[in-house]
């Protein structure tokens, strides 16, 4: 384990200037839950660690019906899980947070860290994609915005350049008659990495029959988290029937390009995409039709384990 120097930024500006000064010899840490594991494994060996975890302005969380949800990059996964407005308006996100590690890790892990770590299996990512999150990035040249769907470039790779920091995620306000759910499939029922995860967000026209909007996020079935675009387009503007939902679930299966590993074969993953797309859609639809799901239920649904 190579030793490193610990540097702490108190402001965003200070963080950017530390990152500029030390370039590729520096690594940002927020909750440090990925960092310390990778460092001990010898995978990450920075000379300088720049802790942004104490920059208060990045901890904010706000929701309004007009502006939607704004999450500072340092908002903890535990806060995503327990925030009442997230539970009621962005249930796929609170369910994703409930499926994530254990309480102790959730208290440390940040949403920005989950996004920037860019694991294809990152549990908050399918839900953030399905809620059409936009990323605010601060850097030496000022701020820029990137859609989360454009943010990932490969496993562990993002569009962030040296010196850039993800500062905020913005999720547009949910349309009326919206329901959403995330389901993670993993070998164990707690403290495991997703074999795959599916988040579905569906909005209905006032009549409660026609699909006005649908987004499906898939995790751990491609080099990055992805949207199931062909499944989505099957339902947009159409009357939602059980047959159509089944077709969408099959289409999502074709959208997935998984690999096989210790958690499951490629074939198993592909089959499970259809199963979880169907399940999340069925439940999300029920919510969109005016039957909200209590958080305890979301939590029970969130992890569907093999053992």
């Amino acid at each position: 384990m190579a030793r490193f120097e610990y540097l702490e930024a108190r402001t965003l500006r200070q963080a950017i200037s530390l990152l500029q000064r030390h370039g590729d010899e520096a690594r940002i840490v927020a909750g440090s839950t990925d960092f310390l594991v990778r460092w001990r494994q010898g995978v990450w060996q920075p000379k300088y660690v720049v802790n942004i975890g104490r920059i208060a302005s990045l901890r904010r969380i706000s929701y309004s019906r007009r502006l939607g949800l704004r999450l500072g990059a340092l908002v903890s996964v535990r806060d995503l899980e327990t925030h009442p407005q997230i539970q009621s308006n962005y249930s796929a996100l609170s369910a994703a947070a409930a499926s994530f590690a254990g309480v102790q890790v959730r208290n440390l892990a940040t949403v920005g860290g989950n996004v920037c770590n860019a694991s294809p299996a990152g549990d908050t990512l399918p839900a953030l994609l399905a809620f059409d999150a936009q990323c605010k990035i601060a850097g030496p040249e000022g701020d820029r915005w990137v859609a989360l769907s454009e943010f990932f470039t490969g496993p562990g790779r993002t569009v962030l350049q040296t010196g850039e920091i993800l500062t905020e995620l913005r999720l547009p306000p949910p349309l009326p008659n919206t329901g959403s759910l995330y389901i993670k499939h993993s070998p164990r029922g707690a403290m495991d990495i997703a074999t795959l995860g599916v988040a579905s967000v569906i909005s209905l026209e006032g009549s409660g029959r026609v699909c006005r909007n649908l987004r499906i996020g898939l995790g751990a079935v491609a080099p990055t988290p992805i949207r199931a675009s062909s499944a989505e387009s099957l339902l947009w503007g159409r009357e939602v029937t059980p047959e159509l939902i089944t077709s969408a679930a099959q289409a999502a299966k074709a959208d997935a390009k998984p690999i096989g590993d210790v958690r499951g074969s490629a074939e198993h993953r592909q089959d499970m995409v259809a199963v979880l797309t169907q399940r999340t859609l069925d439940r999300a639809l029920d919510m969109a039709r005016g039957n909200p799901m209590a958080f305890e239920m979301q939590r029970q649904f969130a992890i569907q384990a093999a053992f």
């Binding site: 840490v29 310390l36 660690v49 535990r78 309480v103 102790q104």
Partner: protein, 160 residues
């Protein structure tokens, strides 16, 4: 090079020198000799190193010691009263036999204390969920859960 670090540990202000790359766990054990907090996996998976950081349960192996400066840390050593009286969670683990070898116990107790601070009337499912990040390799979890439910009752009855 070691740098000064200020923490309040178990209610006592402490100022001491710590390597920049030390975890909070290593700082507690190696610098303050508070060895009640256990090092199990050192990867955040086992929960044996759980402490309360500003009141919230965290795996101290995943916290950079210096990132916790000016924070309040509570370890297993800080739970008993001045008079030596055990915390109701500790007492319940003793009374209900919620342990065998004891290695995971400090972490489990800290997770339980964290839960009961937020919710002193948890369901069995809520208890299971709260200790999902704590591994015990000796026994089942039944007696652990029994102990935490009993402690919750004690606390609600005002004996906590």
């Amino acid at each position: 090079m070691k740098k000064p670090l200020k923490l309040t540990v178990n209610g006592e202000p402490r100022e001491f020198f710590v390597e920049p790359y030390f975890s909070l766990l290593d700082a507690l054990r190696d610098e303050l000799h508070l060895t009640g907090t256990k090092k199990g996996c050192d990867e955040g998976d086992c929960g044996a190193c759980t402490v309360l950081l500003d009141g919230k349960p965290v795996t101290s192996c995943l916290v950079l010691a210096h990132s916790a400066h000016d924070s309040q840390v509570t370890t297993i050593e800080g739970l008993a009263g001045q008079d030596g009286l055990l915390h109701p969670v500790q007492q319940a683990f003793v009374t209900h036999g919620g342990l065998q070898c004891g290695f995971c116990t400090p972490g489990l107790v800290m997770s339980a204390v964290g839960l009961l601070q937020e919710n002193s009337d948890p369901s069995v499912d809520e208890v299971k969920y709260a200790i999902g990040g704590n591994l015990c390799r000796c026994t089942g979890y039944s007696k652990v859960i029994e102990s935490i439910m009993a402690a919750a009752q004690e606390i609600r009855d005002g004996n906590g």
